[in-house]
């Protein structure tokens, strides 16, 4: 989502009014930055059931940190620092909670179930035909949106090894899809 400088400046001015205790300005600001924060979170949290909880946590942290905005500084970096850090904290708490509440043997191996991802049949077939190791790398990185570090940790290999597997997977996938198209 792109926002121009004028938008950020307007939010910065609203934030100054929020610091002065202006309820109406706060309502406007939260309604305007809410979608930005929500999109930011959705892009980084892959478990849909956690997104709303994380959003709540981020807004609460934003509220507690509102005094720490320096009006002379740009609002964007401040907002995203608050969002990123509270998101990481919220995910940390949730990971511990999830580990306590859900026995891991009951959890599906997410990387082995691309059919659950609602993918196009052709892509699904091409994915299934990949060697297991390369398929897992492609699914985690390109379909589930994991970062390199997260995916490497999930599989239990180094980032470099993951890059190699993913690259091989992309090449094989491209070849399969092109073959299908030409048939």
């Amino acid at each position: 989502m792109h926002h121009d400088d004028a938008q950020w400046e307007s939010w910065s001015r609203l934030m100054v009014r929020v610091q002065a205790g202006d309820e109406a300005a706060y309502r406007v600001l939260l309604d305007e930055i809410g979608p930005v924060l929500y999109a930011f979170i959705r892009k980084r949290v892959f478990n849909p059931s956690l997104v709303d909880d994380v959003y709540q946590e981020v807004l609460m942290t934003f509220h507690k940190a509102r005094h720490a905005y320096e009006p002379s500084r740009p609002f964007g970096p401040w907002l995203f620092t608050v969002a990123r850090n509270s998101l990481l904290d919220a995910l940390g708490k949730n990971r511990k909670f999830a580990e306590r509440e859900l026995p891991t043997e009951n959890l599906p191996d997410r990387a082995k179930e691309p059919e659950d991802l609602g993918l196009d049949d052709g892509l699904l077939k091409a994915l299934r035909s990949l060697p297991e190791a390369n398929r897992r790398a492609v699914v985690l990185l390109k379909i589930k949106g994991y970062s390199l570090e997260e995916a490497a940790r999930e599989i239990g290999i180094t980032v470099s090894a993951l890059k190699v597997r993913a690259h091989r997977g992309y090449v094989q996938l491209r070849k399969k899809l092109l073959e299908k198209e030409t048939k």
Partner: protein, 230 residues
């Protein structure tokens, strides 16, 4: 495993957005914005000058300080101590304010200064024959250790109050930078007071307390600088 998506309102926002907005805006109180980082650093500087002046007025500078500082390695060591303290203070302030990144030159500069502070005594300061036994050194350095730690404690407490008003997402780092800054100031004061420039004494009596007290300050920082989130 299909997951039921949570109910969404207009624009794809979660339904709890409106209730959260209502909850957060209701009875909103004005807050005192943080001071700009450079103002906080100037407050630290003023505090450092006052603490150094008062400590030296009480402890008295060493006899022959002018002659000691005529030695280049001594004056460089002292300047580097003050400089590292000032840089670490900036680091503590920057790391405790969201949206401020600690420039890499600050980190590199601080580490280079700290490495220099360890290297200069080893390379340039005189070594007394027979000295070097850690425990015997420690016994002879107790006064310097206590005084250095006590002097550093004053700016650390002042800085702690200053930084606790910010909103640090990295309380341990904030504590570490603040501890390094404050206890290096203690080292600078003790170096101006204590007439010994002997290498082992400087390492054990003047620099070791910085490391120990910074560890404590880091631990304390995890508690103190995380309180704003409670």
């Amino acid at each position: 495993m299909k997951r039921t998506p949570s109910p969404k309102t207009r624009g794809g926002m979660p339904s709890r957005h409106q209730s959260l907005v209502g909850e957060l805006t209701r009875g909103l109180k004005p807050v005192q914005p943080v001071w700009p980082a450079w103002v906080q650093w100037l407050v630290w500087l003023a505090q450092a000058v006052v603490v150094t002046a008062i400590a030296l007025a009480i402890l008295r500078p060493q006899d022959g300080l002018r002659a000691a500082l005529a030695e280049t390695s001594h004056s460089v060591f002292l300047c580097m101590t003050f400089l590292a303290s000032a840089l670490a203070a900036w680091g503590a302030i920057a790391v405790s304010l969201p949206g401020r990144r600690l420039p890499s030159w600050t980190k590199v500069g601080a580490w280079a200064l700290l490495a220099g502070l360890l290297a200069i005594p080893v390379i340039f300061f005189p070594m007394t024959q027979g000295a070097g036994n850690f425990w015997s050194e420690l016994g002879g350095c107790c006064d310097c250790i206590y005084i250095g730690a006590a002097v550093g404690l004053v700016p650390w407490i002042g800085m702690g109050f200053l930084l606790s008003r910010n909103a640090s997402f990295h309380p341990a780092w904030t504590g570490a930078w603040a501890g390094t800054s404050s206890f290096l100031l203690g080292t600078a004061v003790i170096q101006l007071h204590c007439p010994s420039w002997e290498m082992h004494h400087v390492m054990v009596g003047h620099l070791m307390p910085v490391a120990l007290m910074t560890l404590l300050a880091t631990w304390a920082g995890t508690k103190w600088f995380a309180r704003w989130r409670k």
